[in-house]
Amino acid sequence: MQTRLIVVRVGAWVAIALAGMASIGAAVAQTNAVAMVVAVVVNDKNPVTNVTTAQLRKLFAGEKHAWAGGLTVKLFVRAPGAYERVVLLKLLDMSESEYKRYWTAQVFRGDAQAEPVALFSNGMQKEALIAFPGAVALVNFQDVKGGMKVVKVDGRSPGEAAYPLN
């Protein structure tokens, strides 16, 4: 009788633990789904509020050198391995090798002063965005912090339906 009771209790605890883990797993999965949204962020003093996908592509391809007010565009990108980098390459329709070769050519042609600075964390991106008035970067929406201004893409905010940077 006692043994059966112990087995029942342990079984109940295992069931509770499994249910809890499943709940946590679902919550984590939902969190990751949110984390897959990448925001276009600029310095909070930049007056821009919306860009089109085509404009965004030109920005990160180095074809656009200045913002509407004359502010020099300063590109910051994440280093290879980051999800923001994957989204960037998808936006430009390039592989990692093609991206490197493209920027080498941009500098060689004189169309760019240097390849965009690749940063190893979104914290570094945040510092750069605060420091440079013309800065623009792609940041995981979860990591958007004070000093960063989120810009709509094609009129949509991160998380909205049909937002292009997922």
Binding site: W13, K64, T104, G110
Partner: protein, 433 residues
């Protein structure tokens, strides 16, 4: 979020451990014998506490992040930024940390082997020995220096150490530019540049590393290697975008001195064009609706000399270009047409030289096979009569071993008027450093 997940897991593990402690073993049951009712109450309380903690953590996550559970309605209109870290460095320090200073160097090198099926002497360029059936050469060693002076000003210099005859090397300042980017509509450069006649010259300049094929199309060959176009000049030029919405209209305007001296392709001598100042105007569109597409054209005008006909013979040189380029999804399509018109000032004689090339390639993993067809028909009697009528296809493959090392193999078949057809094999190892 990792913190939250870890905390929840620790709570569960601790609870399980506590539950195990709470369940007495057979041996010590007589010493600790709580009633079943009390134990159940204790367990229920612990479960409730756990549920409350999970709920609190989930609600905290919702505050920090948007919810996208309902895809039909915008769930996030404005983002809720987290507060800035207090330990962020001051802006001036962050600027220094994220800024490139001083000279930036890049090098581009090549080693070539070329073999032809004819021993008829032809122009030897990049170290290729004319009249030989095949030999190795090192081509151009290209050194690029760039330096940022300010947000809007920068300097670019391209120094080429080129191989000539008998492994003699010369140093050439291919480009030296002071650039000032006022805004997207006005970017001005002063110095020695490569002229914006068409697409190829400004897209690839002298860098064999960047081009898919092992060599430049005949019509786009650099003038000091026998090319028919004035590919380099000293002066100033401006580029920029013209407000045109989704059309993506851009311009290029140049004014400078070309002073072209080109060796004749038959190896018989050199032609000094003794150019005046040239003007070149170009327009091209990059429409938003078709990424990777560029369509444009340019018109170049200059006054040059024909010393072969006399010391004072001058003629007007007009070069019209049209190009269509598409580079997207791994496809590269380049196509350009030219009309080179030489009109003598003291006679009605006009010489027209049409030329074109088309090249298409597609990336397959690391390999990029390509096909090119080119054609030049130089009007006989003019200053380009050494060029005559060469045309024919080229086939090749570029294979990128790494992001910095590539190997190209190219087969050429060139039909020449009055000469035997020329077949060639060109192998090239290119690298950047």
């Amino acid at each position: 979020m990792n913190y939250n997940r870890t905390a929840i897991l620790l709570l569960l593990v601790a609870s399980l451990s506590h539950a195990q402690d709470a369940v007495p073993s057979q041996g010590d049951r007589s010493e600790r014998d709580p009633s079943e009712h009390e134990m159940i109450q204790q367990l229920v309380q612990q479960v409730k506490a756990l549920q409350e903690k999970v709920a609190a953590l989930e609600s905290q996550r919702r505050v920090n992040a948007p919810s996208n559970t309902d895809a039909t309605s915008p769930s996030v209109s404005t983002p809720t930024p987290q507060p800035a870290d207090n330990d962020a460095p001051p802006p001036f320090l962050a600027q220094e940390l994220h800024e490139l200073r001083g000279f930036q160097w890049q090098g581009f090198g090549e080693v070539d082997y070329k073999v032809l099926n004819q021993r008829i002497p032809e122009l030897g360029t990049y170290g290729f020995v004319p009249g030989s059936t095949g030999n190795f050469y090192t081509g151009d060693l290209d050194l690029l220096l760039t330096s940022r002076i300010s947000d809007k000003a920068s300097v670019l210099a391209e120094i080429v150490i080129g191989e000539g005859d008998a492994q003699a090397y010369n140093i050439d300042l291919e480009r030296m530019l002071f650039n000032y980017d006022y805004n997207d509509h006005l970017r001005v450069s002063f110095g020695r540049y490569q002229t914006g006649i068409g697409y190829y010259n400004t897209a690839f300049h002298g860098g064999n590393w960047f081009q898919t094929s092992a060599d430049r199309p005949l019509v786009m060959e650099l003038s000091d290697d026998g090319g028919v176009l004035p590919t380099q000049a000293v002066g100033l030029f401006s580029t920029g975008s013209i407000p045109s919405g989704k059309l993506g209209l851009n311009y290029i305007a140049e004014y400078g001195s070309s002073d072209t001296i080109r060796p004749e392709l038959n190896g018989h001598g050199v032609t000094d064009e003794n150019n005046g100042n040239h003007t070149n105007i170009g327009l091209f569109v990059r429409p938003d609706s078709i990424p990777g597409l560029q369509i444009g054209g340019s018109i170049y005008h200059d006054r040059i000399s024909d010393f072969a006909k006399g010391p004072d013979i001058r003629l007007g040189q007009t070069i019209v270009n049209g190009h269509v380029v598409y580079i997207w999804h791994g496809v590269e399509f380049l196509s350009e047409g030219f009309l080179i018109r030489h009109a003598y000032e003291h006679s009605s004689r006009v010489y027209n030289t049409p030329a074109f090339y088309a090249q298409i390639s597609k990336q397959f993993h690391r390999a990029r096979p390509y096909v090119r067809y080119q054609y030049i028909n130089a009007d006989q009697g003019g200053i380009l009569d050494d060029v005559d009528l060469p045309y024919g296809p080229s086939f090749g493959v570029r294979y990128d071993f790494t992001d910095s090392i590539a190997f190209k193999t190219q087969l050429d078949h060139t039909v020449r008027k009055g000469e035997p057809d020329l077949n060639g094999l060109h192998m090239q190892l290119v690298f950047k450093f």
